[in-house]
């Protein structure tokens, strides 16, 4: 599955290509901001919103501080409920566990509802290479799957697709009438198409929104009902989760379910919030607990907080960079601000560009329902990546030069004088392609004198 913006390069290169279609970027930006506004309305309607955020943050802090005990408690209770519990250190291990469960059934076609964890593990590709066809049943995910793309947003997978384009895609793959872009008709076509998959699938894979330690149950939230329909028609339910998705008590769900959908889409709750506790009499339930670097991250005072994430994407919707560069610019399963502080933990070299894809405005931290200090982690990553030599050379040299100039009064004065003189006599030396600040911007008019010079002239007696 390709992670597009018309292929490679770092975030800046991909974002540059994404921005060539200015009208489209404006549309993408507005659409996501609209989702942010819905979140704001929902949040403001609850006087206790900040109280909820603080409580959720503290519960998650407690979970991370005592994760060992909570994991054991969850496992114990899940096993008592009749759920099979598996542990996977790596994506490869996770994928193999899933494949083995499926192969034991002798099936080659399965359904899957939204799970960012399975995206992180590259599950679909792995299963495909092993002759197992996975149908993503969330409508947005099915659209990008048919198009051969990765999702660009963790809650709204095809937010970057226009309805005319979806209409054309469905015409090709589902036989809907050419030129029809009516959302109702297209959704109905998808309903029929996917219903056949639900009815014929013996194995259903879901994600896990919350795994409850004190009752050994787990909760899956959807608006479409695709997770539930898939599971209730299957002989095997495989639920995939990162180890950080645990919450201590069933009653904690009140806080998280009040926060999740409001933060994600501005709804008071998703249509379905299903609590899976004990398997159907005729069904096996498997849950796979995946580490993939989480237990390492737990040791870091700087980056541990990112593990509190409940995958609501509120940070995506508010981020000016995400809104104007799109999810595929991040070339990773989870994009946006949270993705930019998670991905470098997996591969510092490959994702060194992401923490720099930010204005550090802090809006992400402001909307995060569990109070992750995203913008602070973005900054800390920048420092770490630069000291480790992963920052781009232009940036590294540029920072060194700036440090030299700003660190010396005489150098600073001389540099300022030179710049003002050049802008007056030979502006083309500065206003050209080599100046990154000149891209899409006019340079400011050079003042006649510096502040220091003005002050000396007017204030000294």
């Amino acid at each position: 599955m390709s992670n597009n913006v018309h292929t490679g390069g770092d975030h800046a290169a991909r974002a540059e290509r994404f921005n060539r279609d200015e009208a489209r970027v404006d549309w993408h930006d507005k659409t996501l901001w609209f989702v942010r506004e819905k979140r704001d309305r929902a949040a403001r309607a609850l006087p206790e919103w900040e109280n909820l955020r603080e409580a959720a943050s503290q519960i998650k802090n407690d979970v991370l501080a005592n994760l060992h005990e909570y994991l054991l408690q969850f496992e114990r209770n899940a096993l008592l409920n009749g759920i099979s519990v598996h542990w996977a250190e790596t994506p490869a291990e996770h994928n193999k566990i899933v494949k083995d469960i499926i192969s034991a059934q002798g099936v080659s076609r399965i359904v899957k509802s939204k799970s960012m964890l399975t995206e992180e593990c590259g599950l679909n590709e792995f299963l495909a290479s092993n002759g197992i066809d996975v149908v993503d049943t969330d409508l947005g995910e099915r659209i990008v799957q048919l198009a051969g793309e990765a999702p660009s947003h963790i809650v709204l997978p095809c937010i970057h697709w226009k309805k005319e384009e979806i209409g054309e895609l469905f015409h090709q793959h589902l036989g809907t009438p050419k030129g029809n872009a009516d959302p109702i008709l297209l959704t109905e076509a998808a309903r029929e198409h996917l219903r056949e998959k639900f009815l014929s699938s013996k194995v259903a894979i879901t994600g896990v929104n919350f795994a409850v330690a004190d009752t050994g149950e787990f909760v899956v939230c959807t608006n479409e009902g695709n997770a539930d329909l898939g599971v209730q028609l299957a002989d095997i339910h495989i639920a995939c989760m990162g180890i950080e998705k645990i919450i201590p008590k069933r009653k904690d769900l009140a806080i998280f379910l009040r926060l999740l959908a409001r933060s994600a889409t501005g709804q008071p709750i998703t249509t379905y919030s299903s609590h899976f506790r004990k398997p159907r009499r005729d069904q096996q339930v498997h849950i796979i607990l995946v580490d993939n670097g989480r237990s390492e991250r737990l040791a870091s005072n700087d980056f541990r907080n990112a593990l509190k994430c409940i995958r609501c994407a509120a940070c995506f919707n508010t981020c000016p960079v995400y809104r104007r560069s799109g999810g595929h610019s991040y070339h990773t399963a989870i994009a946006g601000p949270i993705g930019s502080i998670l991905a470098p933990g997996l591969d510092m070299k490959k994702f060194a560009d992401l923490p720099f894809a930010s204005t550090l405005c802090g809006s992400c931290t402001n909307v995060c329902p569990v109070k992750i200090n995203i913008h602070e982690q973005l900054y800390t990553w920048r420092q770490l990546l630069t000291t480790k030599g992963f920052a781009t050379s232009t940036k590294a040299t540029g920072m060194k030069a700036m440090a030299a100039v700003l660190g010396s009064t005489s150098k600073y004065n001389r540099a300022g004088k030179l710049f003002r003189w050049l802008m007056r006599v030979a502006p083309f030396l500065i206003n050209n392609k080599l100046n990154p600040w000149y891209k899409q911007r006019e340079m400011p008019k050079p003042p006649a004198e510096s502040f220091k010079e003005w002050y000396k002239r007017t204030r000294s007696k």
Binding site: T31, F34, L46, E48, N51, A55, Q58, I59, N61, D62, A65, N66, L67, H68, L71, W87, E89, L139, G140, I143, L156, P157, K163, I166, P183, L186, T187, E188, R191, L194, R195, N223, E224, G225, D228, L229, Q232, L233, I243, R250, K251, L253, A254, R258, Q267, P268, T271, Y272, S273, S274, H275, F276, R277, K278, P279, R280, S295, E296, L298, A299
Partner: protein, 188 residues
């Protein structure tokens, strides 16, 4: 050492072990929970009918589905499981299920496997009807989980309105993979 052992050992080694007592949340409860429930449910695409007692259930169903008697329907009674294979419900047009309680702040109804007949019924039907006593409507999710408490359900779900999606350019469409319509009959 197994993966499990390695993961647990790393977690134990790296966690801070600090005990955190999370703050309490004081939910603001709307004084008229039933009214808030109705308004919220309608705003999320559901329908509401008020009835006076059990005897009015069937007439209400006929009102919503005039051809009810000719439709493919399922009306599970509490505690009795359907024997059939879940796939046999593929053409189910109307399911009528008793909800355990409703939540005013989000229009959701809590139901468990006890009342579903088969767990697939509430999701596979084209139209879902849930029956609730007005006295079983609580203000917020905090009240909801207080009410659920340590209940030993095998499967439970909150259902808030009909299934929906906005994946096609943010246009809200009611009726994705689950029920296309959702009606709650509130018994006074």
């Amino acid at each position: 050492m197994t993966s499990r052992e390695r993961i647990l050992s790393r977690v134990k080694q790296h966690q801070t072990g600090v005990k955190v007592e999370p703050t309490e949340v004081t939910p603001t409860a709307n004084c008229d929970a039933v009214q808030q429930f109705k308004e919220t449910l309608i705003s999320i695409g559901g329908q509401v009918l008020d009835i006076n007692d059990e005897s009015e259930i069937f007439p209400a169903l006929l009102k919503v589905f005039p051809s009810f008697e000719n439709l493919n329907t399922a009306i599970p009674s509490l505690g009795n499981a359907f024997e059939a294979d879940p796939h046999s419900f593929a053409s189910l047009q109307v399911a009528v299920i008793r909800g355990e309680f409703g939540v005013a702040e989000n229009g959701a109804v809590w139901l468990t496997d006890k009342g579903m007949g088969d767990r697939v019924v509430p999701f596979i039907c084209e139209n879902l009807v849930l029956i609730l006593p007005a006295s079983a409507i609580v203000p917020t999710m905090h009240h909801a989980y207080d009410r659920i408490d340590r209940a030993d359900y095998h499967f439970g779900t909150f259902i808030a309105g009909p299934s929906k999606t906005a994946d096609i350019e943010q246009s809200l469409v009611l009726g994705a993979h689950g029920a296309k319509t959702m009606t709650v009959l509130i018994i006074k």
